[in-house]
């Protein structure tokens, strides 16, 4: 019998629909695989107990037996980044600050995944409060890159990317504030999509930087990602910034022709320091593949692209400082300190937050000071508008923009504390889509030269709500390549 964990989510959903195998079989296969390799991988922070997984699987089997309509994720085992609120299932956001918190409500994402027939397996590892690019910023065990135990899975959705790559989940949800879905997808050799800002609800996703945060899917192929997006996209009355535009058929979009699409490339961006030569080579190769698919490659310029990182870090820190003000230990989460109120605040926040979170709260608090606001936050907001305008002008002459996803083909695990600035710069190709609210996808586009050869990602960015175009181009690229079919070695267990 086929190893059910090697199937794509699309194959599982179709197989379940056709009665080729039961959901209980699928769920059991994934559950057992998790039990076997999690001790080495650490992609999950919390797993749903076996009896609950089987009960959920039986419910879908029953629905099928009764001839009921099955959702796009029927029988598909799904992992959720631990940023998504799950009723009665521990939700820590990778932080001590929420250790032991059992949410009293179900977030939109968990609900929509379940309603689409998905089987939630658990909550995935991440950088604390989604702040980081390595998933190392956490007091909990660090998730490993399935391709190399000496390298990180990327971040902040490191657990989401590693789980898909190592098949401890069929598809996963991550969140992307400056590249947190795309960068780990790139580093783990899977597909990750950040939708248009507002396309997927933020209700039930713990806020990092509200104007940039967007939930999205990760999977081993474009179709899996499209299928998962179908399940979670759409207006949510609980999120005032969620878009009311109708949701297109993303699976149909994958089948749409991509030939004739114009792909814009900003050549100047490829000259910026920090882009590894092997990543650049893979990128140039990818452009040739896009041509082979019938697309044309055109030059574009984004004059303000170099301001992206500075602009992004001011805005995300400001919003983070604000969003994290609620963690005071008074209503939920561990409380520290015996003295007066100030002492409780100080002790709780000192013990609850890790160094990167503290750094960003301090930076964010600083830039929002009345006497600093204009110089930092006010200016960053204006630069943000310029960056968004750059995209609008670029899309006058192209349908998509292509860049590398991560400038490097692998980030070694850190033995000592990293230079934060160095890691911030690794977001240089990804933050633009967040600042402008655009949809973007990362997909496998090669491997590095080293041993082991680590995955390299291609990023495509589309205009607002042009997910269908993005998916059509990505599917065409995938059809012309085999990178996505490579699987990492089985982790050394025990």
């Amino acid at each position: 019998m086929t190893d059910l964990t090697s199937l794509t989510a699309s194959q599982i959903a179709r197989g379940v629909g056709a009665g080729q195998f039961s959901v209980v079989d699928v769920a059991t296969a994934f559950y057992d695989r998790c039990t076997y390799i999690e001790p080495a991988l650490h992609s999950y922070l919390t797993r749903v107990p076996q009896d609950q997984v089987i009960r959920a699987a039986k419910a879908i089997d029953l629905a099928r037996a009764q001839g009921r309509q099955l959702g796009p994720l029927a029988g598909v085992p799904v992992g959720l980044k631990d940023i998504f609120v799950t009723k009665d299932l521990a939700t820590t956001c990778g932080s001590r600050m929420l250790e032991g918190w059992l949410p009293p409500y179900q977030g939109t994402h968990a609900r929509r995944v379940t309603e689409a027939g998905g089987i939630v397996l658990g909550k995935l590892a991440m950088d604390e409060f989604a702040m980081g690019s390595s998933s190392e910023n956490t007091p909990f065990t660090v998730v490993q890159n399935p391709w190399s135990k000496d390298h990180v899975a990327g971040g902040s959705s490191g657990g989401s990317a590693a789980a898909v790559s190592a098949r401890t989940a069929s598809v996963t949800l991550g969140s992307d504030t400056g590249g947190s879905i795309r960068q780990p997808a790139s580093l783990c050799g899977v597909v990750g999509l950040k939708p248009t800002y507002g396309r997927v609800s933020r209700a039930g996703m713990i806020a990092f930087a509200s104007s940039l945060d967007q939930a999205g899917p990760l999977g081993v192929c474009v179709e899996d990602v499209a299928r998962t997006l179908q399940a979670i996209a759409g207006h949510d009355p609980a999120d005032a910034t969620s878009l009311t535009d109708p949701v297109p058929d993303y699976l149909a979009a994958c089948q749409a022709p991509a030939s004739g699409l114009r792909v814009g490339v900003d050549r100047a961006a490829l000259e910026r320091p920090g882009l590894q030569p092997e990543v650049r080579r893979a990128f140039e190769q990818a452009l040739l593949v896009l041509r082979d698919c019938g697309m044309t490659v055109v030059d574009i310029s984004r004059p303000h692209a170099h301001l992206g990182i500075a602009c992004y870090y001011i805005i995300c820190c400001a919003e983070a400082a604000s969003n994290l003000a609620r963690y005071d230990g008074l209503r939920y989460g561990p409380r520290h300190g015996e003295g007066d109120l100030q002492e409780v605040y100080r002790a709780t926040r000192t013990a609850g937050f890790g160094p990167e979170v503290k750094r960003r709260i301090l930076l964010g608090t600083h830039v929002l000071r009345a006497d600093c606001y204009e110089e930092h936050y006010g200016r960053a907001m204006r630069v943000r508008t310029l960056i968004a305008d750059d995209y609008t002008q670029a899309f006058a002459t192209c349908d998509l923009i292509a860049t590398p996803t991560s400038p490097v083909a692998g980030i070694a695990r850190a033995s000592t504390e990293r230079d934060p600035l160095e890691l911030y710069l690794s977001d240089m190709f990804t933050v633009g889509a967040n600042l402008a609210g655009l949809p973007a996808i990362s997909m496998p586009a090669g491997f590095g030269a080293g041993t082991p050869g680590l995955p390299i990602g291609l990023q495509l960015i589309a205009p607002r709500l042009a997910e269908p175009t993005l998916l059509a181009a990505a599917q065409a690229f995938e059809n012309h390549t085999t990178w996505h079919t490579r699987r990492p070695p089985e982790p050394e267990v025990g």
Binding site: G107, P237, D239, E319
Partner: protein
């Protein structure tokens, strides 16, 4: 320079809690009197992953207020976050409006003091904005901990900020009363200072005569009754005046009013003031208030107290009585209903502000639910005016009518209140009384005029109060004259 040379310059910031069913940014029920921490939801507690969604009903109430106060309603306004750490503030920030409030400008015409109501003054408004309320911290004396009740957290508020156009403590109180009246007429808030649905901070500074420059202003926080508002402003004026007279500078500060010592006390100076780190609220889109919504709400505006007062005065009601009647929307509605069923306005007014209000003092029912309906006032007055009943009987008829919910005419018929005006019958009664009142007659003829009252009283007693008192007086004069002892 004399003591009185400084003129006070006062501006008020008034918080008013809107009476919507649910909170400003979540579908959580607003229930101020509920058991602590029962009217809460995930958003109210600031649980991770929750987001604000504006309450359309609260926005409509706020727009009505802006229209009633003549503000310009912004087609697009913005939400902002105001940060501070305190246990009653679940998210560590309050969602409010900062640089782009929904209502700008406007004016309140404040009636003059009692007896001079017609002498109105204008207080211009700077702005009105919407925001969410905080919870309540409860500090129990002697305990090393505090309790927090989040029922109020997230309740919808409007903050009405006036220009510094107010010149006295008394005017400040009249301005606030006037605002409260308007808010109650609109039906958008209980606006009760004791319950905290109406709250007030006062900015006070002193201006030197002949100077255009405003003095340094100080803000008195949390004035929770009209009396304290007046007392606190007076105390603050005294404090600033004393400082200036002693040659000292006023330092910009936030103060609290100490009731027991009748003085204001500095809580913190401007240097110690918190930096609220305002930022645009990224969870909320721009608040769009469409012109057609504004037009619809404008059409729905009720007649406001100032317009009603003017209408009553035109009917011949005194400004003082007009102010009393419009003091409560229900009373004014009752008066209008009574007027509509006919009757002389001034007499209706007298009965309304006299007997009816007195009776209602011991009654918790709202006016609209009283068994004594407005039309009966006119009926009662009609029965007096056509001589059917006496004024004295009318009071009894009113009391029975009010208590039993039976119309006055039916009470008169049932209980025999019809006045006796049969001259012959009254003469007979009078003769009988005089015949057995030798002592009193002697006193009368001895020069004690007041004894007439005794005779009238006896007649009224004999007729169970139904004799026409005027007629009795007339007949009594005649009878007394007829019986007068012949002069020697």
């Amino acid at each position: 320079m004399t003591v009185d040379a400084y003129s006070p310059v006062i501006g008020l910031e008034v918080h008013c809690q809107l009476n919507t069913a649910t909170k400003m940014f979540s579908p959580c029920e607003v229930a101020l009197l509920a058991e602590p921490n029962t009217a809460i939801d995930a958003y109210t507690l600031g649980l991770p992953g929750t987001l604000p969604v504006a309450n359309a009903a609260a926005v409509e109430s706020a727009v009505k207020l802006a229209l009633a106060l003549g503000c310009e309603v912004a087609g697009e306004s913005r939400w902002a976050r105001k940060h501070y750490f305190y246990p009653d503030l679940p998210k560590g920030y309050q969602i409010t409006q900062s640089d782009h409030p929904y209502a700008i400008g406007g004016e309140v015409l404040v009636p003059g003091p009692r007896g001079r109501e017609a002498e109105t003054t204008s207080v211009r408004l700077t702005r009105i904005h919407m925001e969410e309320d905080a919870g309540k911290n409860i500090h129990l004396p002697g305990e090393p901990w505090s309790l927090v009740d989040y029922n109020r957290a997230g309740a919808p508020l409007v903050e009405i900020v006036s220009e510094p156009d107010i010149r006295s403590a008394d005017e400040a109180a009249r301005y606030l009363r006037c605002l409260r009246e308007i808010v109650r007429y609109l039906g958008i808030s209980q606006a009760n200072m004791e319950e905290g649905t109406l709250r007030c901070d006062a900015n006070v500074s002193l201006k030197q005569p002949g100077s255009d420059r405003l003095g340094t202003r100080c803000e008195i926080k949390n004035l929770n009754s009209f009396r304290f508002l007046e007392l606190a402003i007076r105390a603050e004026i005294r404090r600033q005046r004393d400082l200036l007279q002693a040659g000292q500078k006023i330092v910009s500060a936030t103060l609290t009013y100490d009731v027991d010592r009748d003085r204001t006390r500095v809580m913190r100076t401007k240097e110690q003031a918190a930096d609220y780190r305002y930022m645009p609220e990224p969870d909320m889109p721009v608040l769009v208030i469409r012109p057609e919504v504004v037009a619809r709400l404008r059409e729905q505006l009720p007649e406001l107290p100032a317009a009603r007062r003017a209408r009553y005065i035109a009917l011949g009601i005194s400004p003082q009585d007009a102010a009393v009647i419009t003091g409560e929307p229900e009373l004014s509605d009752y008066f209008d209903a009574a007027l509509a069923s006919g009757g002389p306005p001034q007499k209706i007014c007298n009965w309304l502000t006299g007997e009816l209000l007195a009776a209602r003092n011991n009654d918790t029912r709202p006016l609209s639910q009283l068994p004594f309906v407005p039309a009966w006032l006119g009926q009662l007055i009609g029965l007096i005016d056509d001589g059917t009943i006496s004024g004295r009987a009318a009071k009894e008829v009113f009391a029975k009518s009010y208590a039993e919910g039976i119309e006055p005419a039916a009470i008169v018929a049932r209980d025999g209140y019809r006045q006796v005006r049969d001259t012959g019958a009254l003469e007979a009664i009078l003769a009988e009384i005089l015949d057995r009142s030798h002592k009193q007659l002697a006193q009368y003829y001895g020069g004690r005029q007041q004894i007439r009252g005794y005779f009238v009283g006896q007649v009224m007693k004999a007729t169970r109060g139904q004799a026409d008192p005027k007629l009795v007086q007339e007949l009594l004069s005649k009878a007394l004259a007829a019986r007068a002892p012949a002069a020697d």
